[in-house]
Symmetry: C2
Subunit: 113 residues, 2 copies
């Protein structure tokens, strides 16, 4: 379990990280929002903590977990060379993202069939 990529390969861990992006949370809050058993949450938090993704501060019986940026920035850094590559394929990208989130109708072209 060395690399940051293996850490974020786990869906529940990604969910936890996404939760923490807004604000710090206690274990119980995470447990409730993600509806997963408490030991599972604690174990994933342990992995995330040891990998430097999160840190905890003690508040009586609770532990408040918050994000730490470095490991995800490492992912971002690995991605950098590819960004340059796919800037040549912008059209394909937009089409792809549109398929994923058909929400924002990016200003439709008055395109006539």
């Amino acid at each position: 379990m060395e690399s940051v990529f293996e850490i974020i390969a786990e869906p529940n861990r990604r969910a936890i990280l996404s939760l923490l992006v807004s604000s710090e949370q206690s274990v119980g809050e995470i447990e409730r929002q993600l509806d997963m058993p408490q030991p599972t949450v604690s174990k994933h938090l342990r992995v995330l903590r040891e990998a430097g993704f999160v840190e905890a501060t003690v508040d009586a019986q609770r532990r408040l977990y918050r994000l730490k940026p470095e490991p995800l920035q490492e992912v971002d850094a690995w991605l950098a060379p590819f960004r340059q590559f796919w800037s040549a394929h912008v059209d394909a990208l937009e089409r792809h993202l549109d398929r994923m989130h058909p929400k924002t109708p990016t200003k439709k072209k008055t395109r006539r069939r």
Copy 2:
């Protein structure tokens, strides 16, 4: 093996992707550059192909593999919310990256040789 994150969790697969970012490569070329057994390369390429990370064109007995941008852009998209978060921690980031790559002396001392 559903999510793109599980795909890039494998170090050899990340190595293959990094190889392909410069230009398309045949299986044999990948095999030699990464010094891994050919069946291993083929299996990883299969995973990458089925997940849409690469595509192959046939050239006689060879298959030339090239990158496809979409799946990595999906990773990039997942990372987006966190970028906003860590823009508040830029200093810590820079310190971190400096520790990782002490090469580029961003602008500190005019260190020349």
